[in-house]
Symmetry: C2
Subunit: 237 residues, 2 copies
């Protein structure tokens, strides 16, 4: 029996507006298409979380740069600028373009800010969906970031609940019995990226479900505490 | 019908030694467990590619740092050092710890170097496996890299063949009809990370198959040409 993971795109989630019961809408959409099971990992787009939490601001629809002043006010620090590109450190500690503010998949006259606390957002969705399913599921809130040194963006985890953000393999043997010293795998980032492959950018699929992850990966932790690297551990800020 | 991806772990690939017909061994292992189909993406661990290509050097098994002099000679540049940690730029243009040299999943008296040209390695495997399958498959050679700003490692693509490394969505509409300006998604890195979720680090599963990717993603390109960001486009070197 081959070990396998399945990643399913959940369509049927309506356009989200502030105050929507996002967890309920996600549960209902899954129920209709792909009923959730114990151990499923839901990967939810930051954009719908920001919309549900009213992290939306007005911008001039005719000016593609009208959100730029917000970038500077939302950022904790501006790290680099080149032309219109502003690389920022957000108050959450994320290093990303434009303080995470963006205008894709929102109406032309608004921009979406990052959630205040994406781990908390993930916990709320996890708690509500777990209650509806009657068995534990995990939740990742995902966003799209660029990287230094490599072209193209990938999805990463802004927040998580119910899943270990980092799988700590230090001290476990590799396939040849050698003890591994420094292998801590950021599984929530890999799960976010995997989900992006099926969610896509232009298709408006806000949620994907990853089924088949190792049950030992379920546990406590948060992106803010466990994944964000702080200044003193960072060599490239 | 829910759109889905499946990622399968291919076990049964024997310990690889220099000169092995890696593509043939991969094909045979897949045939036994999970017969390949047109459009499958094989994600192959760098470690088995390096072993098959004899990118193996002797080190002192009793000294966990005996590969460090190699790091300096393999690297094009050393970017940062902190204690035993050496962040390097390799001759391929990759920014990673220890010039990509590592000692996990190899015998205690050797270390594995990166393949000379992982895109070429991927092409060779792709060509041979495609011939055996009788229909096109794609291949990614994956390795595990750390990141600045975020803790934990993730798998990324060192090389690829038969799949577009970057999906260029610039100029296509998002879900609300807005034209996206800067969305180029590095799907080969997301695929490498997704495969890591099932391959794991300690289980010695050298290959995973991703099934169900969009047929439009098949096409030309290489990691070296399309993903590696060059000095003049980089803000953090």
């Amino acid at each position: 029996m081959v070990k396998r993971l399945e990643i399913a795109a959940i369509e049927g989630i309506p356009e989200i507006v502030p105050g929507d019961d996002l967890a309920g809408l996600i549960f209902d959409a899954c129920e209709a298409e792909y009923p959730l099971q114990q151990g499923d990992v839901l990967v939810v787009s930051q954009k719908v979380v920001s919309k549900a939490e009213n992290r939306i601001v007005k911008v001039d629809p005719d000016d593609p740069l009208s959100h730029k002043p917000l970038v500077v006010s939302e950022a904790k620090r501006v790290l680099r600028r080149r032309g219109d590109l502003i690389i920022t450190e957000t108050k959450h500690g994320f290093i990303c373009a434009n303080a995470g503010i963006d205008r894709s998949n929102v109406a032309p006259d608004v921009a979406a800010l990052l959630p205040e606390d994406s781990d908390r957002s993930a916990r709320r969705i996890r708690d509500a969906v777990t209650h509806r399913v009657g068995a534990p599921v995990a939740v990742i809130v995902a966003d799209t970031f660029g990287r230094p040194w490599r072209r193209g963006v990938t999805d990463i985890a802004l927040g998580c609940a119910g899943i270990l953000p980092i799988l700590d393999l230090r001290g476990t043997p590799d396939a040849l019995g050698r003890i591994m010293h420094v292998t801590e795998v950021c599984i929530v980032d890999e799960l976010a990226g995997a989900a992006e492959l099926i969610r896509g950018k232009s298709t408006g699929v806000a949620v994907a479900v990853v089924r088949g992850v190792d049950p030992q990966w379920f546990g406590p932790g948060s992106v803010a505490e466990d994944v964000v690297r702080h200044h003193d551990g960072d060599l490239f800020r």
